[in-house]
């Protein structure tokens, strides 16, 4: 396959989930910050809430790597 197309596919595999992650974190961040202002004991929940959308971009990165290093 055309190397340019492979590179584009890998870039899209990271870029689209990255945008989705950014959008999700932009929504979660202020909400969890406001919650923590009232209940500081929510810090663990905050860590989890911020880390959960990162799964999208991390798995996107994994897929991109697999696209780039796939045999053939």
């Amino acid at each position: 396959m055309n190397p340019a197309l492979i590179a584009l596919a890998a870039a899209l595999a990271v870029a689209i989930p990255a945008l989705a992650t950014a959008w999700a974190q932009a929504r979660i961040g202020p909400a969890i910050a406001a919650s923590m202002a009232e209940k500081t004991e929510l810090s663990t929940t905050a860590i989890l809430m911020i880390a959960i959308p990162e799964t999208m971009v991390i798995l996107g990165f994994v897929v991109a790597m697999v696209i780039l290093v796939r045999p053939g």
Binding site: T44, I50, I58, M65
Partner: protein, 640 residues
């Protein structure tokens, strides 16, 4: 592990209740729980005298805390206090705290006044410096009035408009001078003939321009007269502030130790009073119930017998009479694993009778962290940071726990760095000829991915097995969980056989096993179990993040190294490379921690963890380290 607990019932004559509470406070072992009211037994209440005493103690404590804070004397040696303070001791402390508080409040108010005064004078001083010559000749303007105005930073552009307005209103009967002050504000001095003054004041009022008034304290209408006196006063203020500080130091020296002793005694007395309603009383007897770690039971019995004699009886409540959920939780782990209890405490505590995940976290958290960082250089930096933090922190604090968690994480990073042949990315390979023992993360992406997912499978299967163990009290549920665990294992076997990692002959038995287990799982756990099974497989894939973060870390390090030759100048390249490594190290500190935590809290704990445990808080003496908010013990470190 979660320490086994015993529930106790302490009985004795009612008149000895206070004495028993004092003994329990000394022993610091019993976590109180209110006994159920039944028959003649009712909850103990504070009488009117005790309520009054409690309110007085609270007020005195507020005074003591305020004084110690104002004198910055919260820490230090504690003065001698009677072993059993009497009402007159508390009254004396209350009077002392009230008297010293009045004085410290006065000193604080005076200090604030002096600060305000100094700020005001400094404002005039700048104005005076700007127009010194003009102001000094102000007294000669027999038929003129001076107006002093300060314009905010950025408002200097309005001066031409002001000049035009004055010209339009009073012609040429004024002089306007302006100068920018060091603060960025603009000082404006307008000298206006006496007969035009009224019109100018009207103009200033209409434009809402606020003139700087000459402070009353310095008298006179002329700023030129007031400023020398103000400058003289400015020289006196530091001396007065020093006097205030010296007086505070004298108060701290003469009363600090006694007030710290008072704080301890008042807290202790308040805690005993507030614990009183947790006992039950009949007209002649009292009942106290509570929990103690089973291994500390002999110590409590012996301590009470010694303090209160044989009139007070301690009996253990039979295990059948209490539910697991009622018992408080004490985590107790070997010294090396103990720092990881801090990571468990970020989460709600596990219920009594369930599994303490600390030992598993102590093994897997550093392992995941190490695989994500996987660099000898970053590992060494982390170890150095951990050692410094350990040196600077005090035992029992969050920082000490963090330092002790950093140690194993740094070690795991160094070990992984040796396996992957990484020292600040590929710098070790170029300079020292370092070669990977396992594989290079920079190139062997797929093997690293498989390693991460395989680790995930092991971790999740361990969680599922722990889930079976924790559900052992409900055999049907435990069996259902066992079937789900077996199905996950069979899916993994079938997949490995399908891609020829395992011999092909494993494939058919694995699939047949799945077909048999499927209806069994539905029958035992319902349809939801199937969704959970799929989610579990998704959980295993989630461990791919170990590979993703690991590859991102090494790539950033390699990019940093390549900057040395890519920017023309070697010095600039080295500086940029160092900066990039620093950024990468910052990411290395943060991201792997968050994701290793997440893999535990979400993926692993979800398989077996039962939150909702009650923290074990024995009735004990107050100490500053625990503080009023956490007024009961953190017993994992000190009792049982």
């Amino acid at each position: 592990m979660i320490l086994p607990m015993s529930k106790l019932r302490i009985l004795g004559p009612r008149q000895r209740l206070d004495e028993v509470f004092r003994a329990l406070q000394d022993l610091n072992l019993l976590h109180l729980s209110a006994p159920e009211s039944a028959g003649p037994l009712e909850s103990s209440r504070l009488d009117a005298r005790q309520e009054r005493h409690r309110d007085q103690l609270r007020r005195a404590l507020a005074d003591v805390e305020a004084v110690l804070a104002a004198l910055q004397a919260g820490r230090g040696t504690v003065g001698k206090a009677p072993p059993a303070p009497t009402a007159s001791d508390f009254a004396r402390w209350a009077r002392l705290a009230g008297r010293v508080r009045r004085e410290t409040d006065h000193l604080t108010t005076r200090e604030a006044e002096l600060d305000d005064e100094r700020a005001l004078i400094l404002k005039y001083q700048h104005f005076f410096s700007a127009f010194r010559a003009l102001l000094e000749s102000e007294s000669r303007w027999t038929n003129a009035t001076a107006y002093h105005v300060l314009l905010k930073r950025g408002d200097a552009g309005t001066i031409p408009a002001l000049r035009a307005s004055l010209t339009a209103a009073i012609g040429d009967e004024f002089e306007l001078h302006s100068q920018t002050l060091p603060s960025g504000e603009t000082a404006v001095l307008a000298i206006v003939s006496a007969r035009a003054a009224g019109r100018v004041e009207q103009l200033l009022a209409q434009a809402r321009v606020e003139e700087i008034p000459v402070p009353e304290a310095f008298g006179g209408k002329s700023l030129a007269d007031a400023i020398p006196r103000m400058l003289e006063r400015l020289g006196d203020i530091p001396g007065e502030l020093d006097d205030i500080r010296a007086r505070r130091a004298v108060l701290a020296r003469s009363h600090g130790a006694e007030l710290r002793a008072a704080r301890l005694a008042i807290h202790d007395r308040l805690r005993a009073l507030e614990a009183l309603p947790l006992s039950g009383v009949t007209p002649r007897a009292f009942v106290i119930e509570g929990w103690v770690p089973t291994r500390a039971l002999p110590a409590l019995e012996a301590g009470l017998a010694e303090a209160c004699g044989d009139e007070v009886v301690v009996t253990e409540v039979a295990r059948q009479e209490w539910q697991s959920e009622e018992a408080p939780v004490v985590l107790s782990n070997p010294r090396l694993l103990r720092p990881f209890e801090a990571l468990i405490r970020l989460f709600p505590l596990p219920r009594y009778g369930s599994i303490d995940p600390t030992p598993f976290m102590a093994v897997f958290f550093p392992a995941f962290f190490g695989l994500m960082v996987g660099d000898i250089g970053y590992g060494v930096l982390l170890a150095v940071g951990g050692l410094i933090l350990h040196r600077l922190s005090r035992p029992g604090t969050v920082w000490r726990d963090a330092a002790e968690i950093i140690g194993p994480c740094a070690l795991a990073s160094i070990l992984a760095g040796i396996l992957f042949g990484e020292l600040f990315g590929d710098l070790g390979a170029h300079w020292l000829g370092l070669r990977p023992i396992l594989f290079s993360r920079e190139e062997a992406i797929v093997p690293f991915l498989l390693l991460a997912v395989a680790l995930g499978a092991v971790h999740i299967l361990l969680g599922l097995v722990l889930g079976v163990v924790s559900a052992r009290a409900q055999p049907r549920h435990a069996f259902g969980r066992g079937v789900a665990t077996a199905m996950v294992l069979l899916v993994i076997l079938a997949l490995l056989a399908a891609v020829n990692v395992l011999p092909r002959r494993f494939f058919s038995p694995a699939v047949i096993g799945l077909l048999i287990a499927f209806p069994l799982l539905i029958a035992l756990e319902g349809l939801v179990a199937m969704i959970e099974l799929l989610a579990t497989l998704g959980n295993i894939l989630s461990y791919a993040r170990i590979m993703a973060l690991g590859v991102a870390s090494v790539m950033l390090a390699v990019v940093a190294n390549r900057m040395v030759g890519a920017l023309g100048s070697v010095i600039v390249g080295v500086l940029f490379a160092l900066l990039f490594h620093l950024v990468n190290f910052g990411i290395v500190l943060f991201s792997p921690t968050i994701h290793a935590l997440r893999l535990h809290y979400v993926e692993f704990f979800g398989k077996f963890y039962s939150p909702g445990g009650v923290r074990y808080q024995p009735l004990g003496h107050w100490t500053r380290a625990r503080g009023p908010a956490r007024s009961t013990a953190q017993p994992e470190r000190r009792t049982a």
